[in-house]
């Protein structure tokens, strides 16, 4: 008898649940087993209950009134039991805290779970909740809170625990260095922008006077005053905020690679020199107002783009802060909580169930199972006992272990992988953007045209009009439209993507991804299996044999944390009317569970264990087990009184929309491959499920092999300029992510993966990859549209200049119009009707 797969909750199921009771604190539906008939208020979990009671206990019910968003996703109530005792240690305080002018202590913490104004209100009410906290100021965008407290009255650990209970788990700001330099750079940009704006505005006012003079006449002495002032402001504009363009142009000439700064600098430079000559010689037109405005507009575009990128970097920085900073060390026979940095070789560390190992080590006592998936991609846990090696970054699952530290920090396996990542990042070549390539051609064409114009005019009318018209041509033929459009398009695309949970670190990756289709070539997309294509949790797919024992199996597996036990429990528990009583369950790690029940001795475990303990099995079940294993499924046998009565097959469930998403990606021009640390059999079966060739599905790949795979792919495609994109989530993917042209880190990633990747998505599954590609394609098509608008404007402008029709007033009107057109096109590009998502299409059926 075969069971159909239990599908993960779809949007339809979620809609039905919404008619159920909502949690009083977070508004998410309350699961049935948490409902308490007699209680006034219902909560979905302990975290929500504690937060609600705290908020009401301090008289802060206004929080619920102020709140503008409810939770979309259930968030793990991380560390509700955490004591944060490490926060009180001297080493922690020395590292992260500072002292204020009056001798109080201050610290900057990053908080999880900050969403809206109500969170700001609640966190800033901390002085009311805790006496001893003097000040608490939260910055919404970066989730950074600055807390000033009096050490004599209250401990930092108490403050941290309170924040956690309210729902905002705190972490020390580990990325402070990077943050400070980014802050400084942003301030410099803002100052430049402000100065440029002030200069541009004043120059335009002065220019107004001169424009009026064109129509009604202006006394020479006033004209002189305004021209000299205009020139002064214009030079200030170029020398101070505008200097960035000249530096970029020099860099471009030095590297013999054109970028957009080159034509901009030509326009600015020629305009400034000609204008200066005209002011001194008291003749001709001056264009300093247009030049100042040009500088300002271009800086605005770049500022907006960098701001968006900054937001993505901040969000990733927060995730890096969230990786564990403390561990439990045994000092003088007592267990204390200390920062990870204080670990040394030979220290004894206690790792509890659910904790990550803080360093490489050997097990001194205890036996448990460990989850190495972040390191190797292997989704099944490994049993370990005394004397076995464990690695930093792996997770301890079952029981407390004591380990002796053998390597810390950079010497651990993880540390070495991170070094590979950094090497790969350094050797990554920057991508030449579309705008820069256009700039190269642009300069050549404009120079040729202006030479032609000059010769023609001097032949017809003489030198003076030739100079005037050529200068006018060089100024108005500036690609300011493109110079503004590129950063704006990217800013809008990045902002739009971050609303969908996709964080893009820099604009050029969008270009790399979005250009594939245009060239009718195939880029290579290499996917990790666990967490990207498959859910990462085994699920029951087949049941052979007697189904009467199912409730017994569920009961037997009730106490185990092993993923297989959870899978069996969840699939089989739904069909119970009564829970059969089972005696004490004895679990042997890596083999199975034994228990007594009213049917006899029941054993649930791996077929190898069954065979080795001499359990006899009927032919049909043996064959079923063999078949399952060949297909890459995990087989679990159920035996009663030494006879096999049933067999279950478990598979790591492929994401519901994975097949469609892979199809869409292929139609977009990507050839998809799988590279995973998991067993070959499983990887092959997933590949078949997704309709991929088995040659492109690699299993049992180590992190070093993944890196080599990427390197080889790049060597093969060096001449055809294809993009190699790597998608992964664990530390085992990090080096490959850094080496690929574009690295995408998926939901649940390790810190190393986040640092190495160019894009991070917070939703699991391949559908986010599809969204990324769509965003990239839309951005590129908007860029191309902007290019056309820019070319159209330039043709008109150059034509008018050649005909001698350009005057300062005309230029001042023409250039902003082109900028506005390009602006409108950029914004419309992303806000226009989006392509229907896979879910929309499903609901329509």
């Amino acid at each position: 008898m075969t069971l159909t797969e239990t599908a993960p909750p779809s949007t339809e199921t979620n809609k039905r649940l919404q008619q159920d009771i909502a949690c009083e604190h977070c508004d998410l539906p309350v699961p049935k087993h948490c409902l308490e008939e007699a209680a006034d208020f219902q909560f979905c979990c302990g975290g929500c209950r504690v937060a609600y009671e705290m908020i009401h206990g301090c008289g802060l019910e206004d929080y619920y009134r102020l709140r503008s968003q409810s939770a979309h996703d259930r968030q793990r109530a991380s560390g509700v039991e955490s004591q944060y005792t490490a926060y009180d240690t001297d080493s922690f305080r020395a590292k992260y805290a500072t002292t204020t002018l009056v001798g109080l202590d201050a610290i900057e913490l990053r908080l999880e779970g900050v969403h809206c104004a109500a969170c700001v209100w609640l966190v800033e009410k901390l002085p009311h909740i805790l006496p001893g906290v003097i000040e608490s100021k939260l910055a919404l965008a970066s989730s950074r809170v600055n807390i000033v407290w009096d050490q004599a009255t209250i401990n930092l650990s108490h403050i941290a625990a309170t924040l956690d209970k309210l729902g905002y788990a705190p972490h020390p700001a580990r990325d402070k260095q990077g943050q400070q330099s980014r802050d400084a750079a942003e301030r410099k940009r803002l100052v430049n922008l402000g100065i440029a704006g002030a200069l541009a505005g004043n120059n335009m006012l002065i220019a107004l006077a001169l424009y009026a003079g064109v129509f009604d006449g202006i006394e020479d002495r006033f004209a002189q005053l305004f021209r000299w002032l205009s020139m002064g402001i214009g030079w200030a504009s170029l020398a101070w905020p505008g200097s960035i363009f000249f530096r970029g142009a020099f860099a471009s000439l030095r590297m013999r690679a054109a970028n957009l700064d080159l034509p901009i600098s030509i326009a600015l430079g020629v305009g400034a020199l000609a204008g200066t000559a005209n002011v001194i010689l008291r003749r001709g037109d001056i264009y300093f107002d247009s030049l100042s405005v040009l500088v300002f507009l271009l800086l605005v575009g770049r500022f907006i783009q960098t701001r968006q990128q900054r937001w993505a970097e901040d969000a990733i920085g927060l995730m890096i802060c969230m990786t564990p900073a403390t561990c439990h060390v045994v000092r003088d026979s007592t267990v204390v909580e200390e920062p990870i940095e204080s670990l040394e070789l030979g220290d004894e560390v206690e790792t509890r169930p659910g904790d990550l190992f803080p360093a490489d080590g050997t097990i001194l006592s205890g036996q448990s199972t460990v989850d190495q998936s972040l390191l190797t991609g292997e989704s099944l846990p490994q049993p370990v006992h005394e004397g076995d090696k464990v690695y930093s970054g792996a997770q301890n699952l079952d029981a407390t272990l004591r380990i002796s530290v053998t390597a810390v920090g950079e010497a651990t396996r993880v540390g070495k992988l991170i070094q590979l990542v950094e090497q790969a990042l350094h050797t990554k070549p920057p991508i030449v953007q579309l705008a820069d390539r256009v700039a190269g051609w642009f300069v050549v064409i404009v120079v040729l045209l202006s030479v032609a114009n000059f010769t023609a005019w001097s032949a017809i009318s003489g030198i003076a009009p030739a100079i005037d018209t050529t200068v006018a041509m060089l100024i108005v033929a500036c690609p300011c439209a493109l110079g503004l459009a590129t950063p704006l398009t990217m800013a809008v695309a990045i902002g739009h993507a971050s609303k969908q949970g996709i964080l893009i670190k820099s604009a050029d990756v969008l270009e790399r991804l979005g250009s594939i289709r245009q060239r009718y070539e195939q880029g290579r997309l290499i996917l990790d299996k666990t967490g990207t294509l498959t859910v990462g949790k085994p699920r029951l797919v087949e049941w052979h044999g007697d189904s009467m024992v199912q409730p017994y199996v569920a009961a037997v597996e009730a106490g185990s944390r092993h993923p297989i036990a959870t899978a069996l429990r969840e699939s089989l528990q739904s069909s119970q009317d009564h829970q059969p009583l089972v005696g004490r369950c004895i679990e042997r790690h890596g083999y199975g569970v034994t228990a007594e029940c009213d049917l006899g001795t029941i054993r649930v475990g791996s077929p190898n264990w069954m065979r080795s303990t001499g359990i006899e099995s009927p032919e049909s079940l043996s064959q079923a087990i063999v078949r399952s294993e060949r297909e890459g499924l995990t087989a679990i046998g159920v035996a009663i009184n030494d006879r096999l009565v049933a067999a279950a097959s478990l598979a790591d469930h492929v994401f519901e929309d994975a097949i469609e998403s892979v199809q869409t990606l292929r139609s977009m021009g990507w050839s998809c491959e799988i590279a995973s640390g998991d067993m070959s059999g499983t990887v092959q079966s997933v590949a078949r499920h997704l309709d991929l060739q088995s040659a492109s599905a690699h299993g049992q790949v180590t992190p070093e092999e993944k890196l080599e795979l990427i390197r080889q792919a790049k060597r093969e495609t060096d001449d055809t300029n294809l993009a190699i994109v790597m998608v992964g989530d664990g530390v085992n993917d990090a080096a490959a992510l850094a080496a690929a042209d574009v690295g995408i880190a998926v939901h649940g990633g390790a810190e190393a993966a986040l640092t190495a990747a160019d894009i991070y998505t917070s939703h699991p599954g391949v559908s986010s990859i599809v969204k990324i590609m769509e965003v990239a394609q839309r951005a590129m098509s908007t860029m191309r549209r902007n290019l056309i608008i820019s070319l159209a404007y330039n043709t008109v402008a150059v034509g008018m200049a050649a005909a001698g029709l350009i005057a300062p007033l005309v230029a001042a009107i023409l250039m902003p119009i082109s900028s506005a057109a390009v602006l409108g096109s950029s914004i419309q590009g992303q806000i226009g009707r989006p392509r229907s998502t896979i879910q929309d299409r499903k609901q329509a059926d």
Binding site: A117, W121, E186, R187, I206
Partner: protein, 53 residues
Amino acid sequence: MSIIFIMAPAALLIAAIAAGAFTWAANTGQFDDVDTPPHRMLFEDRPLEEDER
């Protein structure tokens, strides 16, 4: 209208002072966070309880 010879430079001087103030504000970090103050502005203070007066 010859007053313009004094007015124009004076206006530019005032603009320079304003730009200087802006630069000072930006360099002391006053523009680092522009998303939270708009929310903070709308928070109401609770009326003081008897024991807090």
